[in-house]
């Protein structure tokens, strides 16, 4: 009884404190698009576009949603090896699926190292075009494709409806700034390294179209002065690998 009363008292006090303190804080909504956050994105995009080559390891977690709405998380990694404008190697590993992608400015090869199936399709001339074409033509969503679009005319910055600066944070030993954005279909957060190399330290993307709002997160570690072998971007099929077709996206039937 005493405990209940105590909780009630505490609750009442908290409510009072809320009433006294809170209204001014909530009555003034934050600017819809904090210029500091938008400028940070622009600076990051500009810096990303200045990189001639990089490697990137992302430690990832993705929620998949079961039919009953339950979220299941799978961990994994993405390893990018990139030489602008037209060489890309991407190895995706998660608990369910392994895929390697090779792009050389002419073709995109997808290889499943466990199934040992590979498919080769024609590809556009740049990585920025590739990430969009892969999605639209072959339903291959290149993870973190934004990395190749920020700082271009496809940066999507105009789509952002809300932008805020959350605060500083340490990610993987680096000092980063934490920002949060909202736009149609997604809420997303990014941590951008402080200083002269404004690289993304981490990203979290929340999908809003699904009621349970599944998330994808990636903690990123960069090397902006990599050296590549010539073979990095060229797929040589293992002896027991088999080539199979890749289905093209069909235009959806009009409703």
């Amino acid at each position: 009884m005493l405990m209940i009363r105590s909780i009630q008292t505490t609750a009442a006090a908290a409510a009072l404190a809320f009433l006294v303190a809170a209204p001014p804080a909530f009555a003034q909504p934050a600017p819809e698009r904090d210029p500091k956050a938008m400028e940070a994105l622009s600076a990051m995009g500009k810096y990303l576009r200045s990189l001639k080559a990089f490697t990137l390891r992302g430690d990832t977690a993705i929620d998949e949603v079961l039919d009953n709405g339950q979220k299941i998380q799978f961990g994994g990694t993405v390893d990018y090896r990139v030489q602008q404008p037209d060489r890309l190697r991407l190895d995706v590993r998660n608990e369910r699926r392994w895929r390697d992608f090779y792009y050389d400015g002419r073709t995109l090869t997808q290889y499943g190292p466990r199934a040992k199936y590979y498919a080769v399709v024609g590809a556009p001339a740049t990585i920025a075009e590739l990430v969009q074409a892969a999605d639209q033509k072959y339903d291959i969503e290149i993870p973190l494709a934004d990395l190749f679009l920020w700082g271009t005319d496809k940066s999507g910055l105009d789509d952002i409806k809300s932008a805020s600066f959350i605060g500083p944070a340490q990610i993987g030993g680096k000092d980063c700034d934490h920002f949060a954005f909202r736009q149609e279909g997604v809420d997303w957060q990014i941590w951008i390294q402080q200083g002269k190399q404004p690289l993304p330290c981490k990203m979290v993307i929340t999908t809003l179209s699904e009621p349970s709002q599944p998330q994808y997160s990636a903690v990123l570690s960069w090397n902006v002065a990599p050296k590549f072998d010539k073979s990095t971007f060229t797929f040589v099929p293992p002896k027991d690998a088999k080539q199979i077709p890749a289905a093209q996206v069909q235009p959806a039937a009009k409703k």
């Binding site: 993705i62 079961l66 039919d67 466990r114 291959i140 997604v186 994808y216 069909q250 039937a253």
Partner: protein, 139 residues
């Protein structure tokens, strides 16, 4: 990443697991149906209304996924596998994520097929998923 796709028979598998019934299970490894919605990039043209499902008729769901790439495997992997279900009713053009047991890979010219009894499948990538299209017997 688009890791998961619908397929009808998962509902059957769930029903079987859910009731603990001794009914015929299509396969102990049959995946649960998973939605395919989590985005891995912000700038995605969500207005493009895509349909990669050449044929959504997927009533064959018997799992021998060499990649184990797509399915969410339930805990009950030791559940009874009683029969190979209805492969003979596979419809030409239909797609499945997993093959029936005891298929034989057959290379004819440049093309790779899987022959499972009298049903032939051609593997293909749909997005990043390997799917098997039921085809007319190539020989």
């Amino acid at each position: 990443m688009k890791s998961f796709r619908d397929f009808a028979a998962a509902a059957l598998a769930l029903a079987v697991f859910g009731t603990g019934s001794a009914l015929v299970s299509a396969d102990a490894h049959a995946g649960r149906q998973v939605k395919n919605t989590t985005r891995t990039s912000v700038n995605k043209n969500v207005n493009v209304n895509k349909n990669v499902n050449v044929n959504t008729h997927r009533n064959v769901d018997i799992d021998v996924d060499v990649d184990r790439g797509r399915d969410f495997h339930p805990v009950a992997t030791a559940a009874a596998v009683t029969t190979a279900a209805v492969v003979t009713s596979a419809v030409i053009g239909s797609m499945v994520y997993t093959l029936p047991p005891a298929c034989v890979p057959v290379q004819i010219g440049p093309a790779l097929y899987q022959q499972c009894g009298n049903v032939w499948y051609q593997p293909q990538y749909v997005g990043t998923s390997v799917q098997y299209v039921v085809i007319n017997p190539p020989r």
